[in-house]
């Protein structure tokens, strides 16, 4: 379990984290969302022990600073898009061999695992290269293999999907989902891609200017903060009366109705049935609010 209570961190003159408190249960996958400079990386660095908080309480599986215990470190993998874990002067193969040594992975098991990882991450042809000779996407793939080879119980992924192309990203996301289920691993994930977040995380923490402004499931986030649904309905016949319906907005342009509403207040089918009482529907286009729109709305509100 990861516990943070009233954690504060100042870097230079900037208060990067201000009174951060939350806990992450074993096996939970949590997404940290925030604008640039919100404190996401600092938070991960504090959990990993690279940074120490100025104030507050932190425990990772009961340990205050995981860096001081090899046993704990063997259970944590931290992949960062900006900080490489690979040996700079060694080939990827040699780095992976070192990883097997350091994390005490059985040699046979490691070989089988590497074979399986290679199916997903396609790094076979990169094994004899050095990190400096790889593209960003290739390096990230190797970083992820390095982290997953040790099969740690805690995975911290900080912008760990940058540079990956769409086809492989999809495979990797599926792998992470399976990893989460199989290993009951705790995953902490930061990304600007909310689709990835939605797919992988049970829960999200929204950071804004170093403070948590939301902590809960994506479902709750959507229920509480999602912008309204928008529906465009092409009609034929008389315009129905909408005054009695709990809509946010409605307007008509030529033969197309533009309706804005919250699903919590009224169901889409109820509106459509209401329209059908008076006229014929030729076409319907429904725009559902997505996570990105929801987050945008929250940040707009927070200023």
């Amino acid at each position: 379990m990861i516990i943070l209570k009233d954690v504060r961190k100042q870097l230079g003159n900037k208060e990067v984290l201000n009174s951060i408190s939350f806990h992450i249960n074993p096996g939970e996958s949590v997404g940290i969302i925030g604008l640039n400079g919100a404190g996401k990386t600092t938070l991960l660095n504090i959990i990993s022990g690279i940074l120490r908080p100025d104030r507050g309480f932190i425990r990772v599986n009961g340990t205050e600073n995981i860096l001081s215990e090899y046993k704990m470190l063997r259970n944590v993998a931290y992949v960062s898009g900006t900080k490489s874990q690979l040996w700079r002067d060694l080939t990827i193969k040699a780095s992976l061999e070192n990883c097997v040594q350091m994390y005490h992975v059985d040699k046979e098991k490691a070989e089988k695992r590497l074979e399986a990882l290679n199916e997903v991450f396609s790094i076979q042809n990169l094994l004899l290269s050095k990190p400096e000779n790889l593209s960003l996407g290739e390096r990230i793939r190797c970083e992820l293999v390095y982290a997953l080879l040790a099969e740690t119980q805690i995975l911290m992924l900080d912008e760990a999907m940058i540079g990956l192309d769409v086809s492989i990203k999809h495979k990797i996301m599926e792998y992470f989902e399976a990893y989460k289920q199989e290993k009951k691993a705790t995953i902490i994930f930061t990304s600007h891609n909310l689709l990835e977040m939605e797919k992988l995380c049970d829960r999200v923490i929204l950071l804004h200017k170093g403070t948590i402004i939301f902590d809960g499931t994506i479902e709750r986030l959507m229920n509480e903060f999602a912008p309204p649904y928008e529906m465009r309905v092409k009609i034929e016949g008389n315009l129905p009366d909408f005054e009695d319906l709990p809509l946010e907005k409605f307007s008509i342009k030529k033969d197309t109705l533009h309706i804005v509403f919250y699903r919590q207040k009224i169901e889409t089918t109820y509106i459509l049935k209401h329209i059908l009482k008076k006229c014929r529907i030729k076409d319907v286009k429904l725009t559902e609010p997505d996570l990105e729109g929801t987050i945008r709305k929250i940040y707009k509100r927070e200023g």
């Binding site: 990386t41 690279i50 063997r74 944590v76 874990q85 002067d89 060694l90 040699a94």
Partner: protein, 267 residues
């Protein structure tokens, strides 16, 4: 065992990397050798004008130099990453080492070994030893050989300890290269000559602050028994190989304390 395997892996890769372009590596090694040998030749020619310096003849001086070059050949292989450590701290590359479940020093030792400098200095050290060893009146019996090997190990540990110490200073100060420049590289230049030719301040520095005297002067004294040894405690000749262990362990202790002060830049 794991640490040793990782260190060996790093060494293998360093050799492989440096030797990838064989002709370039050969030229670079030769360049290191010629650069250092030229200095020795200049000193040798200058010494030809004098019969002796404070009782030390040319061959004895070359023997003194040989110890310096031989020990440095090991130092530059074992501790190369510590040589450029302040740069590693500034660039934030130290963070990744901290996250690995392995000793920090073990990750640094043998990593990025400067094989070219090592071969260049080592070859010169061996040449100087071969030229001088038979002309300085040493009887190479087993106890002498054992002492000589211990002195080399001690010399490597002293300089390695200094590298660790200077690296640990990077946890307190942003820029430590100038400290290293003054206390290591400049003092090393002094160490080419018998310390008895310097004033008391330099002698004190070389014995107790930056103890290069225990890298070559006192071990050479044990083997050569020159008259100027009367100015120092005779015990120094005998304990010279052990000084390395003490310095190294002290430096390691200081490193352990200092590393706790490390603050990542966070990015």
């Amino acid at each position: 065992m794991g640490e040793i395997k990782i260190a060996a892996q790093s060494l293998r890769m360093s050799i492989h990397t440096r030797m990838q372009y064989r002709v370039d590596s050969l030229v670079a090694t030769l360049a290191v050798f010629v650069r250092e040998a030229t200095n020795i030749i200049v000193i040798y020619l200058a010494l030809m004008k004098f019969d002796k310096i404070n009782g030390w003849n040319v061959n004895e001086m070359l023997f003194l130099f040989s110890l310096l070059f031989l020990t440095y050949a090991f130092v530059v292989s074992l501790f190369a990453d510590l040589r450029d450590f302040s740069c590693m701290i500034r660039e934030g590359r130290f963070d990744r080492l901290m996250l690995r479940p392995r000793g920090l020093l073990f990750q640094l030792i043998l990593n990025n070994a400067d094989i070219i400098a090592s071969i260049g200095h080592g070859t010169l050290g061996i040449c100087l030893f071969l030229i001088s060893a038979n002309k300085v009146g040493i009887t190479w019996d087993i106890p002498t050989i054992l002492y000589y090997i211990s002195a080399i190990i001690g010399g490597v540990l002293i300089q390695g300890g200094m590298f660790i110490l200077f690296s640990a200073l990077s946890f307190y100060f942003v820029e430590t290269n100038s400290i290293r420049e003054i206390f290591y590289w400049n003092m090393r230049k002094f160490a080419g000559y018998p310390i008895s030719i310097y004033n008391k301040l330099i002698q004190t520095l070389m014995m107790y602050v930056v103890p290069f005297a225990f890298v070559n002067y006192f071990p050479a004294q044990y083997l050569l028994r020159k008259e100027d040894m009367a100015d120092y405690n005779e015990m120094y000749m005998y304990i010279a190989p052990c000084v390395g262990v003490v310095i190294y362990l002290t430096a390691y202790g200081f490193w352990r304390i200092s590393v706790k002060r490390y603050k990542s830049t966070g990015n």
